[in-house]
């Protein structure tokens, strides 16, 4: 138990960064575009399967899957927005319409994965050497360290883009006040197309990281990640990039610690209880600011 707790906390921190990453890509589209992307988790799983294909079939390192997953899936996002995005946003109930549309997309993606890869759970076959590191008496799997390292390297880049560039500011502006974008001369359709492609690409990269962290994934895991993503962004505060990271961290810590003390099946329950508690105490989420939204 003595080394178990620090180990669990370290693991939770690694998972937390990845959950946060998952929320980050979701919040860009949900917060700014008002599109509830129910297929988000399936994009993530598609990213995992791209990693599987590259490592198991072609023998590449999972790191090589990062740019591949980003490229393929952002192209998919681009295409989907081109086909449906504008119509969904202009519909009278953008949230409901996008909910249904992306539920369909979700089914299509998981069915396609099922068709190509069969129903068996898969794992990446690549092994980092050494398999794990000893450090301060803790054992850390190499793959998890790589995943956390990649996430930690990408998060500052994403935050820099969101907080320092005019495009990022416009995206955050879209979360706060969509109508005002038009007044200052921003083409909402082009901004949305851009955000959508980036969001899908980031979800694909999240899939690569998840393939590194979790032992197995199947075409049916998508919905779990979608729900996890929404929980994380509601927990952290809708539309708050920083909140997504905090939400991911809080959820992972709760889930892991509860699993340790009360057993596997209670982990998720505890995570959701924290969500309920946060909503009761701070309806805007940990870092949400209701009054910033018009």
């Amino acid at each position: 138990m003595a080394t178990l707790v620090p180990n669990i906390i370290l693991n939770a921190a690694i998972l937390g960064v990845i959950y946060g990453f998952l929320g980050l890509s979701l919040t860009i589209v949900y917060g700014g575009m008002r599109i509830a992307n129910l297929a988000h988790g399936d994009i993530v799983v598609a990213g995992s399967f791209i990693t599987y294909a590259l490592t198991a079939k072609f023998g590449y390192s999972p790191i090589a899957a990062l740019p591949v997953a980003f490229t393929y899936l952002s192209v998919l996002g681009y295409g989907l927005y081109r086909i449906a995005g504008k119509r969904l946003q202009n519909s009278r109930e953008p949230e409901l319409a996008s909910f249904l549309f992306f539920y369909g997309v979700s089914l299509m993606i998981s069915a396609s994965l099922l068709f190509v890869f069969d129903a068996d759970a898969r794992a990446i076959s690549f092994q980092f050497r050494p398999l794990s590191f000893q450090f301060l008496g803790l054992r850390v799997p190499h793959a998890r360290l790589v995943a956390a390292g990649v996430a930690l390297a990408l998060v500052p880049v994403i935050f820099w883009a969101l907080y320092q560039t005019i495009y990022g500011k416009a995206l955050r502006g879209a979360i706060m006040n969509r109508d005002a974008l038009r007044i200052v001369g921003i083409d909402i359709d082009r901004l949305s197309l851009f955000a959508f492609s980036i969001s899908f690409g980031l979800a694909g990269m999240t899939g690569v990281l998840i393939a590194l962290v979790f032992p197995a994934f199947s075409p049916f895991s998508g919905m779990d990640y979608t729900i996890l993503g929404f929980v994380v962004i509601v927990l952290g505060g809708l539309g708050s990039p920083l909140g997504a990271l905090a939400g991911g961290m809080v959820f992972a810590l709760t889930e892991q610690l509860t699993t340790l003390y009360l057993g596997q099946s209670t982990g998720l329950i505890a995570g959701f209880l924290v969500l309920v508690a946060v909503i009761v105490v701070r309806p805007a989420g940990l870092m949400g600011q209701v009054e910033w939204r018009a």
Binding site: I166, G173, N177, D179, L181
Partner: protein, 254 residues
């Protein structure tokens, strides 16, 4: 030459030609409306609640498509022009409801106002610096979130942002609604100053008295139709008009 340039000052910047518009079906909110907005002129639009005053501005900005008639800018029809392009064409709009990004800093709100020229970083920087100097109140609060400003400060930030790209016409929808009287006086002063600089100012206002005082020309709307128009002096000398205005003031309580 002097005569020519004084003619230019009052040139027609934009006009509504027989415009009708509707939200749903046949419920017309604007009926056969013809309006002219000239440079160097404050054009006031007044009328009772529900007269369609704000709708005029929204239709100008493309939020509502004219069912018939034409809106022209510099003599050219705006039909089919995407609404985000208007900012680049010299049309600035300060809507009645909040149009700021409250979670962004004052300076970032202004930066987004420079979106159409974002590739010219030098010019963007110059415009931002100029604006922050011109509005010292905003300059002092440049790093603060727009959400931390008072109502009056927010209104000035909106106006400052609308002016960044040197518009030829600015549409103001109830610019003094819900702000402190001290700021309201400043806003009217700014409006006069803008017209003096040659801008076409279109002012929709519930506060009829100050609106008539600041406007050079006034349109009176009722149920989406133009009922009267003329200079401020003309309207104030008209007994029937004074009576009308008194009636709205009772109804709207202002």
């Amino acid at each position: 030459m002097t005569e020519l340039s004084s003619d230019n000052v009052k040139a027609v910047v934009a006009e509504f030609c027989d415009v009708s518009a509707a939200y749903f079906g046949d419920i017309h909110v604007l009926r056969n409306l013809s309006l002219v907005f000239r440079s160097g002129t404050v054009t006031g639009i007044i009328g009772p609640n529900g007269a369609g005053k704000s709708t005029v501005l929204k239709t100008f900005m493309g939020a509502l498509k004219p069912r018939s008639g034409d809106i022209r800018l510099y003599g050219k029809s705006l039909a089919g022009v995407p609404n985000h392009v208007l900012a680049l064409m010299g049309v600035a709009y300060v809507p009645q409801n909040r149009s700021l990004f409250l979670g962004l800093s004052v300076e970032d709100n202004l930066l987004l106002g420079c979106w159409p020229i974002r590739h010219d970083r030098v010019r963007t920087r110059r415009i931002l610096d100029r604006t922050l100097t011109e509005f010292p109140m905003l300059g002092a609060a440049r790093r603060n979130l727009a959400g931390s400003l008072s109502g009056g400060q927010r209104r000035f930030l909106e106006i400052a942002r609308a002016l960044l790209l040197d518009p030829k016409i600015i549409l103001l929808d109830e610019p003094t609604a819900m702000i402190a009287p001290k700021f309201a006086a400043d806003v009217y002063e700014k409006i006069s100053a803008l017209a003096a600089e040659g801008l076409a100012v279109v002012l929709v206002d519930q506060n009829i008295k100050p609106c008539i005082e600041v406007s050079n020309y006034i349109y009176v709307l009722e149920l989406g139709q133009k009922t009267t128009e003329g200079t401020a002096d003309f309207l104030q000398s008209d007994d029937k008009m004074r009576e009308e205005i008194g009636r709205w003031l009772e109804v709207s309580g202002g």
